[in-house]
Amino acid sequence: MAKIRPAAAPRLLAPLLIALILVLSVSSVLFAAPPPTPVTAEQAFLPWQATAFAALIVSFLVISMAYMIGKGFEMPMLELWAKQEIFQVAVTVVFVILLVTGVDTFSKTIAADAAKEFKHNGGSLGFADLDTSTVELNKMESGGGSAMQFAQVYTKSQITYLAAQYNQMTYYSETVGKVSTVSGYCYAMSAGGFSIMEGRYLSDTQGSLGGAVSAVSSGLTAMEGQYFLLKIFQGSMFSLLLPLGIVLRSFSYTRAAGGLLIALALGFYIVFPVAVIVEYNIFADYVAHNPSGATISVVHMPTYNKWGEVQENNFVADLVSPGFSEPLVFRTVILTVLLPTLKIFITLTFVRWFAVIMGADVDVSSLVRMG
């Protein structure tokens, strides 16, 4: 954030202070839902809002004390510093309030749309096992939820789906492994005999199946990681990082770190879940155009009888069919490798952009390497 010119500071101070007081006064109205009955302070403010408000008051008090000391001891440098700092606090307040209220409304709106579609399409998207009439989805549909909540429901449904696929894949692999090692034999003491492995050729598919199991497990790990990230972001970004960022940003020597914390809080609480909803739309669009892509077709498994004779049952043909391979590749490559990378990249790009606005120049190369 560019520093204001010293000459301009006194002129700006009065309107800024008035604006700050006004903004702080109406912040409870902006943040709190319209209460039908008289509410307590705890009900009117969410925990993070109360903490952020307290952080702002602390910053404001510290700077005011510095200003008084500057006035009392006739230290113009300290006076000027206090004026500049109060300007920075005002900038922080305005940015945070505008962004949180504006983007939060946006977040609720798109979550409501997504929840409505999700409830409607739950079965056709391959999430038939999910209870689509949950209280959470109903709440989101009526505008009472957020992108963060929808992102968690969607991610959890992908985890459920991938876990089921993992179990199915390992079952295929174990069955094929067993059948491909069956070796029929007939010996006459040491006079000779023969043995034969009828299903040996099936072991050639084990490499592909192993790759599929690895891909599904990687996807499962990525989705579990995403779910865990969403959970901890929901629990801590606004209750911990945002207030801390506001406090740090109020002082010149910690302004950059504070700006970065605010950018991280907004990025991971708002932008990341919105990116997940975008991913959901990509997924729903793919399924809409490829109805068979919602579920991976069941493969007929090879068997063997008590004589060790192997019957393939069209297993190999099923394995290479588009109904089996295409949804699997979409889920494991696009949904769980490419899109998570993009989501993190988009979030970190926002963090970098917003951190620069808030006074912290984030190193791009470090971010890209993290992404």
Binding site: S173, E174, K178, Y185, A188, M189, G225, A256, K306
Partner: protein
């Protein structure tokens, strides 16, 4: 953090003693040069000495400021931060509300290391068990099992190799998380026993010297950035993951799917969040070093490391 935090009634700590000695040497050296300037009536030397004594006073003020910050940090109870955020640490960390945040950071990392090790070991045991099953062969004799034999053999667990391959990847991820948390523990230990005892006095000394002021400023900025922010950010991570870290040791045996959950959770907790921590430290250190007189390109330094 016993070596850095002041013990009540025990006077100055080691690093404070070293810093005071460093400042004393600096003042003596500048005074001697000033006297030489007076003796030889060289105005350049006396003017230079006056400028340097001004910088030395600023360095002394920095030391006082750091001492105050560290004392405040050492005396801050973690309970305050828990009530501030409404969050808690993972239960296994056994962080007490009366702990300082240095203690809490150490406990948090030790708990994460122990948990990570246990789950890594459990996945390894699971892989070992499945390896054993994969190599088992069975012989089924169907007819004439005396002199003549006819039947088939089978390796029932041969298909487990696919699962083993996937579990090995989860094991590698857990291993990476384990190494990263160990790295963090050793960085914390290094900060406790080394950083302030050596780098800060050196930094203040160099900052008072001509031509070395930038180098000294950089050392001070790096030390403050690492020492004050690093444990603090670890504590923040502990609070962030605390409520969602209800892992149980016995869960893994039931289904192997849980191995991937743990791989993901430990990767986020021990690799991803610390990466964000270092980003914050880099930003803070860069700005602080610029304020002290030397902008450090710490991101390039970090890349080199």
């Amino acid at each position: 953090m016993v070596g850095v935090c002041p013990i009540p009634g025990a006077g100055v700590t080691d690093w404070q003693g070293l810093a005071i000695v460093g400042m004393f040497i600096t003042f003596c050296a500048i005074s001697a040069i000033y006297m030489l300037g007076q003796m030889f009536r060289n105005p350049n030397i006396t003017a230079w000495s006056r400028l340097e004594i001004y910088q030395a006073i600023i360095s002394a003020m920095i030391i006082v400021l750091i001492s105050v910050s560290i004392t405040a940090a050492c005396s801050t109870n973690i309970g305050d931060m828990m009530s501030f955020s409404g969050l808690t640490f993972p239960a296994s960390a056994k962080v007490l509300p009366s702990d300082t945040y240095f203690d809490a950071a150490t406990k948090e990392l030790v708990a994460m290391r122990n948990l990570n090790y246990v789950f890594y070991d459990m996945v390894r045991a699971d892989v070992g068990e499945q390896e054993k099953q994969a190599t088992r062969s069975e012989y089924k004799c169907i007819i004439l099992c005396g002199i003549f034999q006819g039947g088939y053999s089978i390796q029932p667990g041969a298909g487990l190799y696919s699962r083993i391959g996937a579990l090995t990847m989860a094991m590698s991820s857990l291993q990476l998380s384990l190494f990263t948390v160990l790295f963090q523990l050793w960085v914390l230990k290094y900060l406790e026993i080394g950083a302030l005892l050596i780098l800060l006095p050196l930094g203040t000394f160099f900052r008072s010297m001509p031509f070395l002021r930038g180098f000294g400023s950089a050392l001070i900025a790096i030390t403050i950035g690492l020492f004050l922010l690093y444990p603090f950010l670890i504590v923040l991570n502990g609070l962030m993951i605390g409520n969602f870290f209800g892992l149980s040791y016995t869960a893994l045996k039931s289904t192997s799917n849980t191995a991937y959950t743990y791989a993901a959770v430990f990767f986020i907790a021990n690799v991803f969040l610390p990466a964000l921590n270092f980003l914050v430290i880099i930003i803070f250190t860069r700005q602080l070093s610029a304020m002290l007189g030397q902008e450090v390109d710490i991101s390039r330094l970090a890349q080199m490391v």
